[in-house]
């Protein structure tokens, strides 16, 4: 079941960039078959100085399979302009 979590998290990390996940909440809505294609759509809800909050939907065609939300702690990389991401 948590293959969904895996896919969802990867998609969310891709959106959030350099950040450490520290909280993940999943709702499993319906099952899906091994050969079905899943579409995982992640979006950033909040990108602050210290935290990033993201949401995600996992769909098999028109059917909602799972939803997720995650909180990330922002970790700064060298060379990133600290002032460019004000809350």
């Amino acid at each position: 079941m948590s293959r969904v979590a895996d896919v969802a998290e990867r998609a969310m990390v891709a959106q959030a960039g350099t950040a450490k996940i520290f909280d993940l909440k999943l709702n499993y809505i319906s099952s899906f078959e091994p050969d079905e294609d899943l579409t995982v759509t992640a979006s950033v809800v909040h990108a602050g100085h210290r935290t990033v909050v993201t949401e995600c939907r996992v769909e098999a065609g028109a059917r909602l399979v799972a939803t997720a939300s995650a909180t990330f702690a922002v970790t700064r990389e060298e060379g990133i302009n600290e002032g460019s991401n004000a809350d």
Partner: protein
């Protein structure tokens, strides 16, 4: 175990045979893929183990959260199943996990335990510990009873 926990446990069937079967079954399906195994199983408590290696890490060099979530989810679901009768199993409807510290390598243990069994909803928690018994993650989940063979891992 607390007095309260004990009385809750006794209200339900303790499926010793299922706990034993879980323990004896060779890893298959996703468990084989991930390299996880069931290390301990008794009614109300199941422990999954995984030796974390490069195949479990993401680009940041730490064990990917979905891997940790998977063993926690399975430990919770299986702990519930050991308090369910033959012919019924459970499926996760909701799961929340906090990642407390990163894991890089070594043995990870997901200790799943039953919190409460209600007729339509089952509640459980899991701690994921590293090889020094430090807390890596804590999860809680809500599951739903289903006929055995449906919605199984």
């Amino acid at each position: 175990m607390t007095q309260r926990g004990m009385s809750r446990k006794l209200e339900h069937i303790q499926n010793f045979a299922r706990a034993r079967a879980l323990l004896e079954a060779p890893p298959a399906g996703w468990m084989e893929t991930l390299g996880a195994r069931i290390a301990e199983a008794e009614p109300g408590r199941v422990v999954l183990e995984l030796i974390a290696g490069p195949q479990h890490r993401h680009g940041g060099g730490v064990v990917q959260g979905g891997v940790i979530t998977q063993i926690a989810d399975a430990a919770m679901g299986m702990s519930l199943a050991t308090l369910q009768e033959d012919g019924t199993w459970n499926t996760t409807v909701e799961l929340k996990i906090n990642f407390v510290r990163p894991a890089i390598e070594g043995r990870l243990r997901a200790v799943g335990r039953v919190i409460e069994m209600r007729p339509t909803l089952l509640f459980s928690e899991a701690d994921v510990l590293d090889d020094r018994d430090r807390l890596v993650a804590r999860a809680s989940s809500t599951c739903m009873p289903v006929p055995e063979g449906q919605g199984r891992e």
